[in-house]
């Protein structure tokens, strides 16, 4: 992430620097060139006027010969630092500081010369035919024609090149600084972002107690503040929800404990009376009704407590690697007598070879509840088939009965607490209405899934999947 921020910043800095350099190059160079040219032009004008005065004065004293004129021209060229040309009225060059006048063409058509003959100061910028470089020309009139000063612009160009070199150097230096700056900024930015990302990851993972602080004062700080506020609100509502849920569970646990004391007395005294030998058959049967219902109520308190513990995650499952075969044999062994009392037989149909990772006691409870259910819902002389087979996400266990079956509209609700498929039958069935809810929560707590299929009159099959050992 840091790298990407760095390169983005660097690219932005680069673009800014490049455009600034280009604009500077264009505008400064243009301005500089203009002002330099103007300056040269002014100084050429002054020099040419002085020179004109000198020529006029000397030609008034005596007529000029060509040699004297050439000397004067050379002398003044050195003083002015420019090329000096003297031209007569016809445009013929009389003297030149750098070329032989004989080789030079007629200057009658040159714009600066035309302007000077007209009595003004002629200016022009042009490539010299004689020398071949660009010159700035200034011509002023003298009595015999005109005197012209020329300054080569090549010198301006080389100064300009120097200027551009400086500019490129400065830009390169600025670019180096911007690399450094981008690195520092990217580092600072990514450090802050990483703190935010780590915080967001913890929130996503459900840790609402996470804290984030950003001491700056920009948009990122704002994001951090808002994230923190959101996490705090989530944390608060979760703890409120958990509080309510805990009160509910504690209440159930307390009720279950409180019921045990009166139940102990009822059961105890009823059983003590049953030990009496002098009871009539009717008295005995009444006492048996009392004991039967005390036992039922005691199961109910057990199941309520068990469900509250499993639901809340308070139940500590001690997971071990245990083979499907052991689980099935254990279930068959423990419940064969119960089934036999109803003339039913438990058959182990198939055994998956692998081990699952589970709390043996909890899985035993799952089988106990499912098989008790099957025993209650099946006719005598039927089979209850159990088995385990390998499926994609673990080992699938099943308990199949050939009993009354469950109508489709009830299927999705049988795992709810106290949900009764047939309310009229349930009172005598001996079930508490919590067995399947407990089963479901135990299976879920093991990371498994549970479902049921059924057909009225044909029987039901409960399937649950437990992850295999080493899978979690």
């Amino acid at each position: 992430m840091r790298g990407r921020i760095f390169f983005k910043l660097l690219l932005a800095f680069g673009i800014v620097l490049l455009s600034a350099t280009l604009v500077l190059d264009l505008s400064i160079r243009h301005f500089w060139r203009e002002s330099l040219t103007g300056e040269i032009e002014r100084s050429l004008t002054v020099s040419s006027r002085q020179l004109a005065a000198v020529f006029d004065a000397s030609s008034a004293r005596q007529p000029q010969d060509a040699v004297a004129l050439a000397g004067l021209t050379k002398q003044h060229s050195a003083i002015a630092g420019a090329r000096v040309t003297v031209i007569d009225r016809s445009g013929k060059v009389l003297a030149d500081s750098e070329s032989d006048p004989v080789t030079m063409g007629n200057h009658a058509g040159r714009p600066e010369f035309v302007a000077a003959l007209a009595g003004g100061t002629g200016r022009a910028k042009r490539r010299s035919e004689t020398i071949g470089t660009e010159f700035l020309y200034v011509a002023v009139p003298i009595s015999t024609g005109a005197v012209r000063l020329a300054y080569p612009l090549r010198q301006i160009e080389s100064a300009e090149k120097e200027l551009r070199k400086q500019l490129v150097l400065a830009s390169s230096f600025a670019f180096l600084i911007s690399i450094l700056l981008a690195a520092i900024m990217a580092r600072l930015m990514s450090q802050r972002l990483q703190i935010l990302v780590a915080f967001a990851d913890r929130i996503a993972a459900g840790d609402y107690s996470a804290k984030v602080a950003d001491r700056s004062n920009d948009e990122l700080t704002h994001v951090a503040l808002q994230l923190q506020a959101t996490a705090d609100r989530l944390q608060q509502s979760f703890s409120e929800m958990e509080g309510v849920e805990k009160i509910r569970r504690d209440f159930i646990a307390n009720v279950s404990h409180e019921l045990r004391t009166p139940l102990t007395s009822i059961r105890g005294f009823a059983e003590t009376l049953l030990d009496e030998t002098s009871l009539t058959a009717e008295q005995r049967s009444f006492l048996e009704v009392i004991t039967k219902h005390t036992a039922r109520m005691s199961r109910l308190t057990d199941d309520l407590l068990a469900l509250a513990r499993v639901e809340s995650g308070e139940e500590n499952f001690v997971r071990e690697n245990i083979t499907a075969g052991d689980i099935l044999a254990d279930a068959q062994g423990a419940l064969a007598a119960l089934a036999a009392a109803n003339s039913q037989t438990i058959v182990v149909e198939e055994i998956a070879p692998r081990a699952v990772r589970a709390d043996p006691d909890a899985i035993h409870r799952v089988f106990t509840n499912l098989i008790e259910n099957a025993v209650r819902n099946s006719k005598p002389d039927s089979f209850i088939r159990i088995g385990a087979r390998e499926v994609e996400d673990g080992i699938q266990f099943y308990v199949r009965d050939a009993g009354t079956g469950i109508a489709p509209e009830h299927l999705s609700r049988v795992f709810e607490r106290f949900y009764r498929v047939d309310p009229s039958r349930s009172a005598d069935s001996g079930g508490t209405g919590l067995g399947l809810a407990i089963v479901k929560h135990i299976v879920l707590a093991h990371g498994g899934t549970i479902h049921v299929t059924s057909e009225l009159g044909q029987g039901s099959t409960f399937f649950f999947v437990v992850p295999v050992a080493g899978q979690i």
């Binding site: 404990h257 045990r260 004391t261 139940l263 102990t264 007395s265 009822i266 059961r267 105890g268 005294f269 059983e271 003590t272 030990d275 005390t294 005691s298 057990d302 407590l305 513990r309 500590n316 006691d361």
Partner: protein
């Protein structure tokens, strides 16, 4: 039979129920509604067994059991807990406080009497006399006395019987179930995990470092083995 059983139960009806059924089986019963005078009375004339309700006003059953185990005269007396708490964790902590059995309410009075008889039988049958010394640990089975580094160490009867069993079969690996059969016999309540509790308590008494035992060792995936030091 002339044995007295001290019953601590704050619910009058349940206390009456227990008294009736235990007396019908030929024991004498003294009822206490709290642990207030229990220890001073017991010190005068130690009972054959304590039956303690766990949820009591004032000091609860667990606390009383801790005090009983700390007393030199009462230490060998077996303790059975009565409790409305059913979880494995509650049972284990009952054992950790030095209980010998744990009965869950609502109980059948017949079951309580059967458990009392079972625990007393276990304690009546004397151990075969003999003194075994391993390094600085001496087990005197006749006197039921454990001496570690020349100091006599208090043990409960159940702890001593388990230790005695290990000492008599050095080098052999026992599963938890085998130990239950051999030492606890007809007590239904103890689960294989309770054996772990007793092993831990014995280690705390005989091992220099209970975390890395050199005498009573765990055999991974199987159970425990007692190794006589060479």
């Amino acid at each position: 039979m002339d044995q007295t059983i001290f019953v601590v139960e704050d619910d009058k009806d349940i206390a009456e129920l227990l008294r009736h059924n235990i007396e019908s089986s030929g024991y004498r019963v003294r009822l206490f509604s709290s642990g207030l005078n229990l220890l001073s009375e017991a010190e005068k004339q130690p009972p054959a067994l304590f039956l303690l309700d766990i949820m009591l006003p004032g000091a609860d059953g667990m606390e009383l059991c801790r005090l009983i185990r700390r007393s030199r005269t009462l230490n060998p007396v077996p303790v059975i807990f009565l409790s409305a708490k059913t979880s494995e964790m509650d049972r284990v902590s009952g054992l950790e406080q030095g209980g010998d059995d744990y009965i869950v309410k609502p109980f059948s009075p017949r079951e309580v009497v059967a458990r009392i008889k079972a625990v007393l039988r276990r304690f009546e049958k004397p151990l075969e006399a003999g003194i075994v010394t391993m390094g600085d640990v001496m087990v005197d089975s006749g006197a039921m006395e454990l001496t570690v580094r020349e100091k006599i160490v208090n043990t409960t009867a159940t702890e001593f019987r388990l230790l005695d069993y290990f000492v008599r079969h050095p080098g052999r690996v026992f599963t938890r179930d085998q130990l239950l059969d051999a030492v606890w016999r007809d007590t239904a309540f103890v689960t294989p995990r309770s054996v772990d509790v007793y092993v831990r308590r014995i280690r705390e008494k005989i091992e220099k470092d209970p975390e890395s035992p050199r005498l009573l060792k765990t055999v991974r995936g199987a159970g425990y083995r007692f190794e006589a030091p060479r």
